[in-house]
Amino acid sequence: MKILYFAWMRQRIGASKEDIDLPGDVTTVDALVDWLVARGENYSEAFVKREVIRAAVNQEYVQFDHPIKNSDEIAFFPPVTGG
């Protein structure tokens, strides 16, 4: 699975992009975040206020109960501030 991070999520995690093999029991965005947070402090700091983070699966905004699969592209980022 391709994971992308933007803005301060990218800075806190220290990567803009990574490829992971999605464990079989990780089937939702929420479960993926739990799995990432367990990987290290950079992730737990990035996701500390999970309710403010936005997620996109295959470039569409989703809620955190959205199902995911290994072939998806998923992105995590703060609320957008363009315009």
């Binding site: 470039q59 905004y61 989703v62 809620q63 980022f77 957008v80 501030t81 315009g83």
Partner: protein, 159 residues
Amino acid sequence: MIRVQEDDFDIGAELRTLTEGDTSVGAVASFTGLVRDMAPIDGQSREIRTMTLEHYPGMTEKKLAEIEAEANSRWPLAASLIIHRYGTLEPGDQIVFVACASSHRQAAFDACQFLMDWLKTEAPFWKLEDTDTGGVWVDSRESDNQAAARWGKSPDTDG
């Protein structure tokens, strides 16, 4: 039409192209967003040296196209245009330009405001302000969410 680009743009030329050859257009409303020299950061007004815009290539274009299509479904527009820059900009630089052409003045104005309001809350851009005391990511604003909400529910703000 939508464009996501690092380069600056010429509003006069963009507007000429927008309505060229279509003399049914009586009204063009447009909006330009510029980099400001000061920003409130942690309750204090800070001088901005540069602003860097990051975005999500691919999703940005997709979202802008969706927002433009939505505006065209809601108002009778002859033409519309969204240009959004990314990269590092200085105070006074153009960030975003939105224009809507219609035979009706109110449709042009409403569609233009709608595009800006939805763009502010939907398009995956993030602003980093470089100040004397370091880089600061701009916070999203509740007033922008309220401005977007007045147009009714977005199909994809459920994240």
